[in-house]
């Protein structure tokens, strides 16, 4: 058994319902899941199975109806909205299917944004850091480009740099390659994997692409709001990808 402080994410009996009374419908029916530092996990499952719902709960964007959710050992149930916001800002990075960059800002400014949000005022260090991350995602020569002047793959790479700039313990990616062609998707995926290996950042990646899922350490499968499988990828696929 690993040490408890090794657990970046710990879910116990998480349930989520929408609506109330007669129209109440439960989407997640008791999820138990633990992710340890440096894990690189895929979350797969059919459409409507509750993957995004689960990711939003983990990302503290929403609260579970029931169950316990710990991030880096901190019990989210004990926190008010301000506390959740703080924990989210410090520990979690998001990558969405759509990059959600702010078009009026440059790539570098977009990457520095989470630091600006955390610190309240701009400083040279945050831009230096944003610049380094853009170097790492291969956009050294695009730092001063406006976000809406970049290609889809480049924008998603900026979004990844942005998710990583605060040095989060856990990066949540909801179909990060869903909008990209196969080639760009491979690049972006490789980038995530690279960060995971070098910085031991924990990743939870929702994907519909079995080829990409096969390149993760672990595949969690969700069907109808329940985890039906949680296993390493088949070794055969691992080398094929």
């Amino acid at each position: 058994m690993a040490e408890p402080d090794d657990r970046v994410l710990h879910l116990a009996g998480i349930r989520k319902s929408y609506g109330s009374g007669e129209v109440e419908s439960e989407i997640l029916h008791g999820i138990d899941l633990t992710l340890r530092r440096g894990e690189f996990a895929a979350l797969i499952g059919p459409s409507g199975s509750g993957k995004s719902t689960l990711l939003n709960l983990i990302g503290l964007l929403d609260r579970p109806t029931n169950g316990q959710l710990h991030i880096d050992g901190e019990d989210s149930g004990q926190l008010d909205d301000t506390g959740l916001t703080r924990l989210r800002g410090q520990r979690i990075g998001f990558v969405f299917q759509h990059h959600h960059l702010i078009p009026a800002f440059t790539a570098e400014e977009n990457v520095a944004m989470p630091l600006l949000v955390a610190r309240g005022r701009p400083d040279a260090e945050m831009f230096a850091r944003a610049g380094r991350l853009l170097d790492q995602v291969g956009l050294a020569d695009r730092k001063q480009h406006l976000a809406n002047r970049l290609s889809g793959g480049q924008q998603q790479r900026v979004a990844i740099a942005r998710a990583l700039v605060t040095n989060p313990s856990l990066v949540l990616a909801d179909e990060p390659t869903g909008n990209l062609d196969t080639h760009s998707a491979d690049d972006v995926f490789a980038l995530l994997r690279d960060f995971n290996r070098r910085q031991h950042t924990t990743f939870l990646i929702v994907t519909h692409d079995p080829r990409l899922a096969a390149r993760c350490d672990r595949i969690v499968e969700l069907v109808d709001g329940r985890i039906v499988a949680d296993r390493p990828p088949p070794a055969a696929r691992d080398t094929a990808g």
């Binding site: 995004s52 939003n56 990302g59 964007l61 929403d62 909205d81 301000t82 916001t85 703080r86 989210r88 800002g89 410090q90 998001f94 969405f96 759509h98 959600h100 702010i102 944004m113 989470p114 949000v117 955390a118 942005r162 605060t166």
Partner: protein, 386 residues
């Protein structure tokens, strides 16, 4: 782009408000200046002469009527004059001896008001010296300054002799040293200025004065101050506000109606800003969501939109002030007296611009309150998914 449009919108609103305010205050200042060119801000009279609020525009006329029977003097006027001169609100104090008389020259005979003054003091209340059209303000023994209207009636010019006589038979012959035009036909026909001593002996008021004229630093305080002086001295104190009650009421209602217009312009500007910001909150939903996902607090989101409202208001007001300034320049170019001089001088005061900028920024922030609340309360999950 949208922000630019709304800044222009705010600018136009602010321009209209600033332009209106400047025009109105210019106009009113001009009217007041004309009214007060021949009138003191406060006139002190002996206690028995109870002045009722009059429709008459002129305190002198009032005095003339009342004093027809018997002239009354103000007691201890030198002491009072010296005391009033030390009041910080009072700019100038001028004792006068005034009463009815006739001006006679050859066949011509006119009813007039003899006004005995100390020229330097009087000149600080009513700028007589500036309003001379001929000669100079010299009121030594045997010297008189008359209005252009009376001069025409009597056919008198500077250097001519003139005889003043009162109903009870005293008279004096004086030389005209100057002609004035105080911008009021009645005053120009009626007021005859002589030295204080000459008037005192003509009017049988030896050593006394019949009234004291005051000039104030702040016109608007005239009525309050008049009451205070009346209370402290027991004299009757008439402020220009009271003697021109109708005129002042007209000015006030003009100001009120312009305030109403300004209020509604400000209101429509506020609605404009608010609606643009509401749209922008909806359009930027995804950006708001992602900022929240990054750890931006609700308070931070609110601040962004409040700031945006304030910035739109502020820059709009700068643009508006510039616009208003150009309108005013244009107005002064177009609105001219028949003789080609500007009808009246108006300018955009820095104070007004500062007020407009502050006011518009505040309106901007206030109108951003609701959109900012919406932005803060946006559910990031919905925003990002939508």
């Amino acid at each position: 782009m949208q922000s630019l449009l709304i800044i222009v919108g705010v600018g136009v609103g602010v321009a209209v408000i600033v332009f209106m305010s400047a025009l109105l205050s210019g106009l009113q200042a001009n009217l007041i200046k004309r009214t007060l060119s021949s009138q003191a801000h406060i006139t002190l009279l002996p206690p028995e002469e109870i002045a009722r609020p009059q429709q008459a525009t002129d305190a002198t006329a009032l005095r003339l009527q009342k004093q027809a029977q018997r002239l009354r003097a103000i007691d201890q006027w030198q002491t009072l004059r010296d005391r009033l001169e030390t009041w910080p609100e009072i700019a100038a104090v001028s004792p006068l001896a005034a009463g009815p008389a006739f001006a006679v020259r050859g066949e011509a005979n006119k009813a007039i008001t003899v006004v005995g003054i100390e020229p330097e003091r009087y000149n600080r209340v009513i700028s007589l010296a500036e309003r001379l059209t001929a000669g100079q303000l010299r009121l030594g023994a045997g010297e008189v300054v008359i209005g252009i209207e009376l001069a025409r009636d009597l056919g008198a010019e500077v250097g001519d002799k003139l005889r003043l006589s009162t109903a009870d038979g005293r008279s004096d012959t004086l030389t005209v040293t100057g002609l004035f035009d105080l911008g009021n036909k009645g005053v120009n026909a009626r007021n005859v200025y002589v030295g204080l001593r000459a008037a005192q002996s003509l009017l049988d008021l030896v050593g006394g004065v019949s009234s004291i004229d005051l000039a104030l630093h702040d016109l608007d305080l005239a009525e309050q101050l008049a009451r205070r002086i009346a209370g402290e001295t027991g004299l009757t104190a008439d402020s220009w506000i009271k003697t021109n009650a109708q005129f002042v009421t007209a000015l006030t209602s003009q100001r009120v109606s312009s305030n109403v217009i300004r209020f509604f312009i400000a209101l429509s500007v506020a609605f404009g800003i608010a609606s643009v910001l509401v749209v922008s909150v909806i359009q930027r939903g995804k950006e708001i969501g992602i900022l929240r996902a990054m750890g931006a607090t609700q308070a931070q989101m609110r601040r962004i939109f409040l700031l945006q409202g304030g910035i739109v208001g502020f820059f709009g007001s700068l643009l508006g002030s510039a616009l208003a300034w150009s309108f005013l320049m244009l107005w002064q170019l177009l609105a001219r007296n028949p003789d080609g001089t500007p009808m009246f001088v108006i300018g955009v005061e820095p104070g007004l611009v500062a007020l407009a900028a502050g006011g518009a920024s505040l309106v901007g922030i206030l109108s951003a309150l609701l959109p900012a609340r919406r932005a803060a309360q946006l559910d990031p999950v919905v925003a990002i998914r939508g």
